[in-house]
């Protein structure tokens, strides 16, 4: 059965386009992804503009970003998404509701996320629960940097997502210093709301583990490199690797 898709004219986005997105806006993107799917299936090209099909590296990149590739990737994404190890990172009131999701009523162990690890090296999900003060922000960033990839962050509550109830000199929204994948609104969000946020993240990871976050947040250069490698290669040490005598952020 043929599905006829009508493309709406959205008039383009107000604030420019994401890097890697086609210049024409979301309408063209839709056309291209449909064309990519048709190409994979070997069918004819569709759409009002048949010459808008992609070629070469553009096509590959587009397929990577928008169409899930191999079964192995999918299996790995499934495993990763079902075994988040959250880091115990309670800051303020939201931490009490985060403790509630571990408790028996909204049981996070149903999904396999009850293994809260204290060490950031063993955790892959940072649930920022509570208000981030300016004194705490470099420490949060340091903990986040110490986590191994792939890692995700949920900003729980209004205070770290936006400024929350307190828009003043002492707080900083988490978006300013670290990439956040899911924002959960609420003050504090109900445990069910946080659970919804975690499950949303799980769905995101299942569908697309990479999510292109390095491009989106300009996070190139934050990979942690071993000192031996940086000494021998010409690449500069990463932003968050401390050299000798460095005490910034301590």
């Amino acid at each position: 059965m043929e599905v006829k898709r009508e493309l709406l004219n959205t008039g383009g986005r107000a604030s420019g386009t994401r890097p890697g997105a086609p210049a024409g806006g979301p309408a063209d993107l839709r056309v291209q992804s449909l064309n990519a799917r048709q190409l994979l299936r070997g069918g004819d090209l569709e759409g009002p503009n048949p010459s808008a099909h992609l070629e070469g590296t553009d096509f590959e990149r587009h397929v990577e970003e928008s169409v899930l590739t191999t079964t192995l990737d999918r299996a790995v994404a499934w495993a990763r998404s079902n075994s988040f190890f959250p880091a115990t990172f309670g800051l303020a009131c939201c931490a009490i509701e985060m403790m509630s999701i571990v408790a028996a009523r909204v049981d996070v162990a149903r999904f396999g996320f009850e293994a809260f690890r204290a060490s950031p090296r063993q955790a892959d999900l940072l649930i920022l629960s509570g208000r981030v003060s300016i004194k705490m922000a470099p420490i949060v960033r340091r903990i986040y940097d110490q986590m191994l990839e792939p890692k995700w962050a949920i900003s729980m509550g209004a205070c770290c997502s936006s400024m929350g109830v307190f828009n003043n000199y002492a707080l900083v929204p988490a978006d300013k210093f670290m990439p956040i994948d899911v924002h959960v609104p609420g003050c504090p969000p109900r445990p069910e709301a946080l659970m919804h946020g975690v499950l949303k993240l799980r769905k995101m990871v299942q569908d697309d583990p990479d999510m292109g976050w390095r491009e989106r947040y300009g996070a190139h250069g934050t990979e942690e490199l071993l000192p031996e490698l940086t000494a021998t290669t010409e690449a500069p040490a990463a932003v968050n690797v401390f050299g000798e005598g460095d005490t910034a952020g301590a």
Binding site: T88, E97, M99, M136, F166
Partner: protein, 418 residues
Amino acid sequence: MSEYRRREQSITLGPLHEQLDEQSEGGAESTQELLTLNFGPHHPATHGVLRLLVTLQGEIVRDVKPIIGYVHTGIEKTAEDKSYWKVIPVIERMDYLSYYFNAMAFCGAVETLIDVEVPKRAQYLRVIHLELNRIMSHLVWLGTSALDLGAISMFWYCFREREKILDLFEMSSGQRMHTRYFQVGGVIEDIPPGFAEKLRGFLAEMPSRVDQYRDMLNGNEIVLQRLRGTCPLDAETLLSLGVTGPLLRAAGNPWDLRKADPYCSYDDFDFKIPIGTAGDNYDRFACRVAEMYESVKIASQALEGLPEGPHITEDRKVALPPRHELATSMEALIHHFKLVTEGMRVPPGEVYFPIESPRGELGCFVRSDGSSKPARVHMRDPSFVNLQATSPMVKGAYIADMIATLAMLDPILGGIDR
């Protein structure tokens, strides 16, 4: 014989402080140097973002310096920017486990400044919610402290009861935490039908639940070994450090503002104040558990004796008129308009209003300059002052005792940092 064997034989089963004295006399400290360890703000056992600089000699703590400020939110400054009733949600988020108490202290201070009478029914409703909040705060304390000691399963039991209390809060105000239920002059809404029965059922089964928690931990050898006799501090040192609340009561001083200087109709109720004898960690633990029984008693008495009447003051310059009046009365409409846009005007003055929160004396200082916004709001938070007692308590004890003491101190960093 080797050094190791000699040391091994020197371990006696005597009380801990004797063993420590023997060690230090035996010249052992000359072989050990001082190590400064940072219990960073991110640590599972620090109950929030508390940073401790611990100076250790082997495993014995020689000095502890708490460093705070990692969740400083500028609440007091934000409160100067908002009209009086808008301060209440902001000030509630200070000591985030005892939110009704924060609101009570602030509302009490403003009511004193305005000199408005809170109706009896509102006072009893306040008492019910305050005591429920006290039980809830002690439950979270118990669950997380047992977690620190290693008795992990206590956490789930305590949070089971906490969910029931939060259901009651949700019934009366619509929110689980930070409910904005207390307003200047009373409470914002009367309790819905069904609340009384649900509360009665909860209060009927709560004492047996507290019995369960006590039985699980009281007979446990490990809990007793870790809490009995560890880190005691006498009442006089505590008083000079400004410590109040269950910490002071565990040391034997029966100071409780609900009995000593009753506010909000607490003198209508019959309850006891549990105190301890030795002032060690076990007494702090036992005091708080016993306080849960007393809170159940107070809440039952308040529920049974709940009088009829308005739930907020009738003074329209302070409290919003009921909505049905807005359709018929012009004055009600004007009052509503003035209160919502500008806020209530409070005569100039300064007042300090102390209440008894689960952690000690929680005082609210409000300075008013006659406008509709407070000129200074300061919360004297009990945890902020109690934290100064950490260092004298743990000097000379083991790190494990320090963790247990931190748990028994019940610090809430939101209140400490404000």
